[in-house]
Each structure stands twice: as C-alpha cells, then as structure tokens.
Amino acid sequence: MLLGNRRYWLFQLIGWGSFAFINTFFAFSFDQLTAVVFKRLAVFLVLGVVFSHLMRVIIIQLGLLQKNLNKQVLQFFIITFCLTLLVSYISVELLISFGLIKKTEAEMLARTDVSFWINKVLLVLSMAFSYFLLFFIWSLIYFVYHYVAKSRKQQMDTLQLESLVKELELKTIKAHINPHFIFNSLNSIRALVDENPERARKGITELSNILRSSMQADKAEAVAFQKELFIVKDYLALENMRFEDRLKIEYQVDDNTLPLPVPPMMLQTLVENAIKHGISKQIHGGIVRVISTIKNNFHELSVQNTGYLNGHMSGEGFGLSSTTNRLNLLYGNKAKFEIKQASTSLVEARVSIPVEANY
C-alpha cells in the first residue's frame, strides 16, 4: 500500500521523467550541458521523487481522501507547503556539501549586508518556489485522479440505485394489480355461487388458471401478447358467466402481434376497467372488443367497450394510472396511453408500444 502500485510509479516516472527531459533539452540547447548541471538536476529529481512519495505516504496515513472537502483542500495545501520547504532546505544543504552551488547562489550567500543565515533562508525560499510549483501540480494530479475515480464510482452507484428504484416501483405496481384483479374476479364468481354452482366451480378453475399466469407474469417485465390474451380470454369467459347475454365479446387480433412483448397484466387491467366502468353500468349490457394491430411500427392495443367516458374513466382509477406509470417506467415517453369516447356509445382505451422497444 505504502509502496504504491504500478500505475502510481508510471505516473511518477512520466512526471519527473518529462521534467528531467525538458531540463536536459534546455541545458543542451543553451550549451550548458555540464557535469554540474547534470548533478544538480539529479539531486533535484531524486529529492523530488523521494519527497513526493513521502507526501503520498502522509496523505494515506492521515486518510486525507476520506476527510471532508474543505479539510482535504486545506491539508493538501499545508502538506505541500511544508514538504516544499523541507525538500528545499535539504536540497540547498546537499548542493553546498557537494559543491554544486551556482555562481549567482555563491555570490548571494557571500553577501555581507545581511547575515549568512538570512541569505541561506532566501536561497531555500527561491528553491522552494520551483519545488512548490511541481509539488502543487503533483498534489493536484493526485487529488484529481482519486476524486475522478471516486466520482465515477459514485455515478455508477447512483445508476444502480436508480435501477433499483425503478425495479421496486414496478414491483409495487404489480403488487397493486393482483389484489385489484382478484377482488373483481371473486365478485364475478360470488354472483354465480347460488345461481349456478357448476358454472361457479368452472369459474374458480378459470380464476386459478389466471392467478397462476399472473404469478408467473410477476417475475417478468414483459411477456408475449399471446400469453396475455389467454388470460384475458379466461377472464372474459368468467365475466361472461355473470353477464350472460348482456356481454358480447369480440377479438380483432392481428396474428403478427401475438409474439410481441407487452407488460404483464396490462391488457387484463384495461379489460377489467371496461367491464367495471362500462358494461356493468349499462342496463342492456354491451360489447367489449379487444383489438391488437401494428400501425407505423407501434403495437396498438385497444379495448373498446359500450359506455360513456366520465370522471372515473379519465384516468383517475388505480388501474388506469398504474398503466400510465408502467408505460412511463418501461418505455419512457416512447409509449402512449389514451382513453377517449370513440363514438357516441363507445369508449376506447388504447396503448401504443414501440415495436422495436429495447428492454
């Protein structure tokens, strides 16, 4: 951990290496490529690498990247500043010891108008300025690297969280549909228990079939339309027992639409609403027509029923609002749901799903 990984040393090598290269280039171009210049550069680089690594050790030991941002910025700055002063002091001492001081520096140290120590401090400070620029860049790159990595991880976590919320929302919607549907079906069967027990028994079998299908459907985000249609047919057969002659059922299904994926229990919800708010309110009953076609690359699912659009049918009921929510969650704004008075005595609920929807 404290030794650093491969990528860290690659960054160190590129950073200090390019600095060394640029300095060598200028020394060469300015005809100053002497042994002294090389030795000075080597001292500068060795100290730079050692102390920048020391800075990293301190950052890790203090757990700086885990602290809050204001503390991080302040402590990064303080550490950079202190280490810069220290490395400059050591650098000046080493240059003096090895006799690698430049003429201008030697002249400065020899000044008599101020004490030797003040001259030395000034020399350390001027050296510190060069180190500071490099150490500051080093700190910023280190900070940016870790911040970007952390930020990208956080973005991934947020995405995962968003998908979890979406999944939970879908589960909630599905959990709402089932009791809603069972309640309506049991009411239909109850009406038959005294009147015709044989048919009620058959009805219970059909209901159990529907429940089994719905339990399977609960696991998937989309099922083939054909499967949905089987459930709807069972359901309408069940309702037909209750309404007898009052309910006429028609299917206009394009065979090409049978394998297309649709959200489970969605058609069922629309048919339930057509019965509950349409047919059951008509003294003479009426018709329920299930239409499935492909138009302009959209799978259009319509449920028409005899009746009149009123407040209940304009999307206030749970079944209809959940249909809108589910379509929004699954397809965004690509899918449409509308309910309208198609003719004087016919209400139409229509769902349009893009055929090439990406699941």
């Binding site: 300015f30 860049i137 970007v148 930020s151 939970l168």
Partner: protein, 172 residues
C-alpha cells in the same frame, strides 16, 4: 465573461504569482522598472490567455465531456494537454515578440538571440519562446487542474444531493 468567483480565483492566482516574484526580485536586488514591466506583461498575457483558454474549454464542453463516462478520460486529458501546450507556445511567442518590440529583453536573452551558433537544429528565437513556454506551461497546467477540480467538486456535490431522495426512497 465569467462570474465573480472565477475572477476572484484568477486574481488570487496570478496575483500571488506576481507577489512571489516581486518578493524574490526584492530580496535578490533586482527590483527595477524593467522588472515591473516584464512582470506586468507576463501576468497580463497569462491572465488574458487563461481567460481565452476558459472560453475554449466552455465552447468545446470539455468539463461536461470529462463528466460523461462514455468519453474515455485519457482522450480528454490528451486534448486538454494539447490545448495547454498550444496556448503556452502562443502566449510565449507573443511575450517574446512584445519584449523585443518594447526593448525589455534582459542581457542573457539579447545575447542568446545574437548568437548564431546556438544549436544546429533550433533557432535562438524558438529556443527563447520554448523556455518561456515552459514557465507558462507549468502555470497553465495548475490553472487547468484547479479549474477542473472546481467543476468536478461542484458537479459531484450536486449529484450527491440529487441521489439523496433516491437513497431515502429505497431505504423507506
């Protein structure tokens, strides 16, 4: 044009660089009118060109691209690096031209320009421009890093705040 916070950063950055240089010029007994003129020119060009660099960064949407995971980070870094190098060279060239025109070149620079045999492959003027560019480069790298850190931190903070309702929704 940038907001007050941006100009505060600009002023603090270039200002502190100017102050440090004045301090060293003072301690090294080099505080003369020529130094002030040279320093003023360096800072003014630095300020103008860093601001121009900000315009380019905004125009190219580099911060947004760096936040977008679909764009590889090394591409953004390479591109920013190219922008910084180009700006450093251009601003240094202008700096050298202005110093020459205004007669503010120091003795070592005049000697360098006068030399005919600086090197067999590089002209003395290009060498002068490149050595100035190196100083500008270090400062513009710092400028860019601070600029990106600021925007990254701001955007990250915004993202954290936005994900809080999601967290509470999942935990509820």
């Amino acid at each position: 044009m940038g907001n007050w916070k941006y100009w505060l950063f600009q002023l603090s950055g270039w200002g502190s660089f100017g102050m440090i240089n004045i301090f060293f010029a003072f301690t090294f007994d080099r505080l003369n009118p020529e130094f002030f003129e040279r320093q003023g020119l360096f800072l003014l060009l630095g300020l103008i060109f860093s601001h121009f660099m900000r315009v380019v960064i905004i125009w190219m949407g580099l911060v947004q691209k760096s936040l977008n995971k679909q764009v590889p980070l090394f591409l953004i870094i390479s591109f920013c690096f190219m922008v910084v190098v180009s700006f450093s060279v251009v601003v240094s060239h202008l700096n050298v031209e202005l110093l020459t025109t205004l007669g503010l070149l120091v003795r070592s620079e005049v000697e360098l320009l006068a030399r005919t045999n600086v090197n067999y492959w590089i002209s003395s003027k290009l060498l002068l421009v490149l050595s100035t560019a190196f100083s500008y480069f270090l400062l513009l790298v710092i400028w860019n890093l601070i600029y990106f850190v600021f925007h990254y931190v701001t955007s990250n903070h915004k993202q954290k705040v936005e994900s809080l309702p999601l967290d509470s929704l999942v935990k509820a």
